[in-house]
Amino acid sequence: MEADSALTGAVKPAVTSIPLSYRRVIRWLGTMPFLAYASVFLLIPTGEIIVQAFRTPSGRFTLANVRGLVQPQILSAFEATIKISLITAVLGGVFGLLVAQAALRDGGPAWIPPVLTTFAGLASNFAGIPLAFAFIATLGSTGVITQLLNGLGLHIYSHGFTIYGLIGLSVTYMYFQFPLMVLIISPALEGIRREWREAAINAGATTRQYWRMVGLPVILPSLLGAMVLLFGNAFSAYATPYALSSGYINIVPVLIGEAVNGDLASNPQLGASLAFGMIVVIAIAITIYALLQRRTARWLR
C-alpha cells in the first residue's frame, strides 16, 4: 500500500496534492453507503428475527417462543423439510454430477457443454410459482404424464402418488436442484487435469480406480460445498411448495408464511422463532461442510 502510493505519487504529483490520509479516509467513506444499506436491509432485519424469537409481545426476554417450537406439528415440519432438502441435495447432486461429467467428457460434441450450461441456468432460475404450475401440468391429477400413464394402465394416483405431497415436492425440487449442481460442479470438473487421468491409466489404473482414488478426492470439497448449497436451496424454498400444495403442506417455510400472513391468527413471535430455527439449521449445515472441507483439504495438500 505504502510503496504503491509512493509510486503513484512519483508519477502523478497532482494526486498527491491531496494528502494521503485524506484520500484514505475518502476511500473508507466510499464503502459506507453499502455497509449502511446492508445493515438496514439485511443485518438489522436478521438481528430482529433473533430478538423477536426471544421476546414476549410486551418486549421482555423469554425462552417460551423457542420452547414453543417443540410440538408435534412443528417438529414434523422441520423433519420433513430437512428430509426433503437432504434427499434432493444428494440425489440432485449425484445426478447433476453425472450429467456434467457426461457433457464434459473428451470426444463429445462441442455444442453440448454450452447448451447444457444455458439450459441449466434456465432451469435453476425457472422456479417458484411457474415451476409449481409446470409440475401440476405434468404430474398433477390431470397432468399430461399422469394421463399418458393412465392410458398405459398405470394409475399412479391410485397407488398413492400425488404431486401435492412430499414425494411430489421432491420430484419438483429436482428440477432446479440438479441443474444447479451442473452449474456449480462444471468448473471443478474442468479443473481436473487430463494428465492426471492419463498418468493414472498409464500406471495401470482402471477408470473406476482412477475416479475412486484421484478424481473423486480432488473434486470432493467442491462436491460437498455444492451439496450444502443445494440443501439450503431446497430448505428455504417457499413459493414452489406453497403453490404446489395451495399452502397445505407441513414444511417450515409454509408454516412461517402462515404465522406471519395468517388472516385470523397472525403470530409474529411464532414466525420469528421458526425463522430463527431455519437460520440455525442452515448454519449447522454450513458448519458441517466447513469441518468436512478442512478434512478433505488435508488429503489434497
Partner: protein
C-alpha cells in the same frame, strides 16, 4: 497385465477421438427429458382451450386482464429499480475494495454470502418486524426493490468481483491517473468499460430474479407478477400454465442475454434463487 493391455488400448484410441460412452448419452438424455417434459406439458396445458381444442385463447385472456398488466408493470419497474440500486451501490464499493481496501474483502464476502444463510422467508419476517412501525416504508412498493437488492447481492457481487479480478483494476487505475485522468474519467472511461460484461450479466440475472420473486412480495402483501400468477393458479389451471410459459420465456430471454455475453468472456452459468 490385463489392465495394462486395456490401458494401452485405451491410449492408442487417443484421448481426443474417444466417443461418448453409452452411459454419457444415457445421463444427458435423462437430463434433457427431465428438463423438457414439464415444459412440454405446461405448453400443452396452456394451449388447451376445450376438451380437445387447442388455441391461444388463454394467452389473449391473460393479456386482457388489467390485473395482469398492473402486476407485470410493477414487477418490471421493480426489476429496473433493483438493477439501478444494485449497480450504484455495488460497483463503487467493489471497486474501492479491489483497488484500495483489500482488507475489507473478507467482510464483503461474508455480507454477500449472508442472503444464503437467511432465507427470503426469514428475511421477510425480519423486515416486517423491523419496519412495521414505519408505514410509509413497509406499505410502499419501493421496499420490495430494497429487499430484492439484498436477494441479488450474492450474484451481483460474484459477477463484479470476477470481472474486476480479471482485469487488475489497481493497475488500470494507476495507469489512468498517471496520464492525468480525473476520478470521474477513470471511472467512466477506464473502469466501467472493462466491467461491461460483468455488469450486464448481473443485470440480466437480477431481472430474472425480480420477475419471478414471490416470497417477499406475498408476505409484504404486494401484487407482483408472481403473486398475480399464484392467485390465477388457485382457480384457473390453464390460464396459470399460459402465465408459466410467459414467465419461462422471460427467464429464457435473460439467460440468452447472459449466454451471448459469456461467449465473449468465460462467464459461467448464472443462478438466482427465487424459490
Amino acid at each position: 497385465m490385463v489392465a495394462l493391455k486395456g490401458a494401452a488400448r485405451r491410449r492408442s484410441g487417443g484421448a481426443a477421438r474417444r466417443r461418448l460412452s453409452f452411459w454419457s448419452w444415457f445421463w444427458l438424455a435423462a437430463a434433457a427429458i427431465y428438463l423438457l417434459v414439464p415444459l412440454y406439458s405446461t405448453l400443452q396445458f396452456s394451449l388447451q382451450t376445450g376438451a380437445h381444442q387447442y388455441g391461444l385463447g388463454w394467452y389473449s385472456y391473460i393479456l386482457r386482464q388489467p390485473a395482469f398488466r398492473q402486476s407485470f408493470v410493477l414487477s418490471l419497474r421493480l426489476a429496473v429499480e433493483t438493477v439501478i440500486i444494485s449497480l450504484v451501490l455495488m460497483v463503487p464499493t467493489v471497486y474501492l475494495i479491489h483497488a484500495w481496501l483489500p482488507k475489507l474483502r473478507p467482510t464483503m464476502e461474508f455480507i454477500c454470502t449472508l442472503p444464503f444463510v437467511v432465507p427470503p422467508i426469514a428475511l421477510a419476517v425480519g423486515m416486517i418486524g423491523l419496519f412495521q412501525g414505519v408505514p410509509w416504508l413497509i406499505s410502499n412498493t419501493q421496499i420490495l426493490a430494497f429487499a430484492y437488492v439484498i436477494q441479488a447481492l450474492p450474484f451481483t457481487y460474484r459477477s463484479l468481483d470476477a470481472g474486476m479480478l480479471s482485469v487488475d483494476i489497481r493497475t488500470l487505475t494507476d495507469a489512468a491517473q498517471s496520464v492525468g485522468a480525473s476520478w470521474r474519467q477513470t471511472l467512466w472511461h477506464v473502469i466501467l468499460p472493462n466491467l461491461r460484461t460483468a455488469i450486464l450479466a448481473s443485470a440480466f440475472l437480477t431481472v430474472a430474479i425480480v420477475l419471478g420473486e414471490y416470497t417477499i412480495s406475498s408476505l409484504l402483501l404486494f401484487n407482483t407478477f408472481a403473486v398475480y400468477m399464484q392467485q390465477i393458479g388457485t382457480s384457473q389451471a390453464y390460464a396459470a400454465a399460459a402465465l408459466a410459459i410467459l414467465s419461462f420465456f422471460l427467464t429464457w430471454l435473460s439467460m440468452l442475454g447472459i449466454f451471448f455475453l459469456s461467449r465473449r468472456v468465460g462467464y459461467r452459468g448464472a443462478v438466482g434463487m427465487t424459490r
